[in-house]
């Protein structure tokens, strides 16, 4: 991995070429969930449906586990993985809370208070 300036942003995985190439099939699998028939097939047998895609085993397991940050780490992009959430009947805020490591009421409270603070989120070198 070539070090890029944006790798210094804490808690943000920028969806650049490297992430996009790594996550291509994972994200294209997510796109397939835009069709009701495919959602039904996925729900009926998640493993069998995933095995139709040339994804890595790690990516498939992250999907089966609904390990949202694990999907991101392996090239997933939230605009794509949110289609799995929609298939599950989850709201965006529900997965945002999980991905942020807080409960959903805590996440909602953070949003009502103006959102995630910029303090400490500018650079990995910032004082905590």
């Amino acid at each position: 991995m070539t070090e890029k300036p944006y790798h210094d942003i804490p808690g943000t995985v920028l969806f650049d070429a490297e992430q996009s190439r790594q996550g291509f099939h994972l994200n294209q699998f997510c796109m397939s969930l835009m069709k009701a028939d495919n959602r039904a097939a996925f729900k009926a047998d998640e493993r069998a449906y995933l095995d139709k895609w040339p994804m890595t085993e790690g990516q498939k397991q992250a999907v089966l586990d609904r390990d949202w940050n694990g999907m991101i780490a392996q090239g997933g992009n939230i605009y794509f993985t949110s289609k799995i959430a929609a298939t599950d009947g989850l709201s965006f805020q529900q997965i945002a809370a999980i991905m942020s490591g807080v409960t959903q009421p805590e996440y909602a409270e953070m949003m009502l208070k103006g959102g995630r603070s910029i303090e400490g989120n500018r650079s990995k070198k910032d004082p905590k």
């Binding site: 804490p10 390990d67 939230i78 949110s82 289609k83 298939t87 999980i98 400490g120």
Partner: protein, 245 residues
């Protein structure tokens, strides 16, 4: 001559659309958002634009990783609401304005913007939520819409300078269209989103949290849960009055 008479900028948080679609708009949690749009709705009912050029972003609905346009302009007769995983939003089909859209495409390309011309495309919440916020829930949208999608999925998006210059070129294009049309330009999208990744280390949970598996939960549409299950209302309301969001 066509005239740009106004601009509108608004959030397009998907939960806002879901709240409307599911009849939750009058609930205390949602009231502040929708009340924030009352003045704008009254204003636009008087303005009666003929066409809205709606500058938005597609959320991996019309465009997958197979093909990623930087700027895409919709020249079709109509655009259907996309199925983003929970079925298409129950809103009217969006009617285009092919004459003005093609005129824009021609003018912009000759002005050296490398547009992608799109003649078949579904539109997701990024485009339909702003329409819902401004027009409510009519049987048909009271305007024609020209979707102009800007890539924000794949790094790099176009630069701020490029988007600014595109805006100037759009003005020139609209003003060279012979028909007398009342045109508005809308913009929508977040000024700041941390959607993409995990929390910074200080926020990291000790134990990874998970919701129960889908099988244990049953199926629910987003926005149907209790207020805390949906994206916050207040930032959206603020966005509507501060041109970001």
């Amino acid at each position: 001559m066509a005239r740009i008479t106004a601009g509108v900028a608004t959030s397009h948080v998907p939960a806002i659309g879901a709240a409307l679609d599911n009849g939750k708009a009058a609930e205390p949690y949602w009231q502040p958002v929708f009340a924030g749009y009352d003045a704008s709705k009254k204003w636009i009912a008087e303005e009666k634009p003929d066409v809205v050029i709606l500058v938005y972003n597609d959320h991996a609905s019309a465009f997958s990783l197979s093909l990623i346009p930087t700027f895409a302009i919709g020249c079709a007769e109509e655009f259907k609401p996309a199925d983003e995983g929970w079925g298409p939003r129950p809103v009217p089909t969006v009617k285009g304005h092919p004459e003005l859209a093609w005129h824009l495409a021609e003018s912009l390309i000759l002005d050296e913007f490398d547009m992608t011309i799109v003649n078949e495309m579904d539109v997701d919440h990024g485009l339909t939520v702003p329409l819902s916020l401004m027009f409510g829930q009519p049987a048909e949208w009271p305007v024609k819409v020209i979707p102009l999608a800007v890539n924000v999925v794949q790094y790099p998006p176009p630069t701020g300078n490029r988007c600014y210059n595109l805006g100037k070129a759009i003005r020139k294009a609209v003003e060279s269209f012979p028909e007398d049309l009342n045109v508005q330009v809308w913009g929508t999208g977040g000024m700041s989103h941390q959607l993409q990744g995990p929390p910074r280390r200080a926020d990291q949970p000790r134990v990874r949290q998970r919701l129960p598996r889908p099988a244990d939960r049953g199926s629910r549409r987003p926005g149907e849960g209790p207020p805390t299950s949906t994206t916050s209302a207040r930032p959206a309301a603020r966005a509507s009055s501060s041109s970001c969001g």
